[in-house]
Amino acid sequence: MSWTTATIARLFGLGLVGGIVQLTTVSQVAIFGVPADLSPLLVGAIGLLCGSIAGAGFGFGMGLFMDTLLAQTLGLTSLVLLAVGYAAGRLRELRDPAHGLVPVAVGAAATAAAAIGFSVLQFLLGVDAPVSLLLVRQILMTIVLNTLLALPVYLACRRVLAAFLPDDPRRRRRRAYTTGGLSPLSRA
């Protein structure tokens, strides 16, 4: 992936729009009794598309943005989302999974890691709340809901960043198969 000003601007815009949509709309719509959380999905998708450094950086920025707008403890969400983005990026760098449902699994894992990690950090920071079944249920329902949203979010991120991503080998192969390898785009 080429790191240009345009790439960074797109990532910045993606994080800004995602964060505002999350705060103004998604967090106010409860499905199954809980709202969805787009932040780990976005961070996971960016990590999967752009790699570990971009994932970690995007996670850090997204977390900082959310902490700022929600007047939360600065650095807390950043730390969690940074780990999520880095892990998603490393998965891409080490394994390069090709299955179409990988974004769904990554989204579910990212949501689980973010939710559990955030809860653990809150407890470590001294929140005196008992671990109730309600909390566990809420985390599980958020994971289920985010799993359903993971693929659309991933596809949207890929569409936004398509111009800056390296050509996907699978797409190249598919195009070569359907056009006989004579795609003008490849030549260009």
């Binding site: 505002i20 949509v21 705060l23 103004t24 709309t25 106010q28 719509v29 409860a30 499905i31 570990s52 450094i53 970690a56 950086g57 850090f60 977390g63 900082l64 902490d67 700022t68 707008l69 007047a71 403890t73 600065l74 650095g75 807390l76 950043s78 730390l79 940074l82 880095y86 920071l125």
Partner: protein, 330 residues
Amino acid sequence: MALRKVLSCPAAVSAAAGGSLLLAAAVFSLELFIGMYDRQVRRRRAVLFALVACCLVLLTAYFGESSGGPLKSVQTGAMEVVAPVQEGANRALKPFRDLFGWFGDTLDAKDERDELEAERDELRQQVARLQLAENENAELRDLVDYGRGSGIDAYQPVTARVYSRSNSSWYSTMEINKGSSDGLSVNQPVINGKGLVGKVKTVSDGNAVVMLLSDSEFGVSALAAEANQPGSIQPVAGSPGDLLLDLVPQAKQVRTGDRVVTAGTVSQRLPSPFPQGLLIGTVKRIEGEGELDRTIHVTPAADMRRLDFVQVLTRPAADLRASTTTPPPP
């Protein structure tokens, strides 16, 4: 440039010195790859370390500073800057939120409706039970008051619960849960809190059948209390809420609204099973103009359709003087 790099690589130089150029090129490529890989790893780790360090510094600083500290001020400032954007987005995205909210509300409304329906059914049952208990309570209270006010206690009343009714055009009976073992016997008068209900028709060990006032075979000597005119109460077949006061010597003296009570024993040879003064009902209307064709309709004081508890007077002839007082009107 490339040659300088090759020469700076000692393994490649030694390989070249050995005469194997191909091997030298391979070794150089490997060294280059390892160098690039190391650089990538170092860069990745440095970025990760820097970001984690930033987070920890932010966390520590945020916890350490007071409410008016620089970080919190920056946070407040950023919130103020983004607030208009958030507000605009909030308005722009409201239709989507409402749409999803409508789906959610619809699903919730269905669940809520089911819960409320279940609650409503339960409350209905509860209300029905409470109404039943209230009716029973009122009936029992009437019985107690009636017994105290009219001297009925002298007749040793036995309170019984009605558990079965048979109400046809010709036969009006009911079964009660007290029998001969409780001191009941045939022809004993049966009353409730309002007045006379009937008499015991048959009796067994644990229960008894009561013939109601409205039964076609029922008859009782009566007295129009205000006019002091004796007569006989007869049921009207097919009309359980209507009785006839018949065989009245001076029927003209009887007025609508007069109370009709049991006449009690008037003959030593044929003693009446009913003590004197038990309220039977009130004169509802009088038909006919002449003395002989006058028909006096009496409405029973006791509602025959709503009988849950009754009292059987097991010693109706115990003290005739006790029954001289008529009960107060309901």
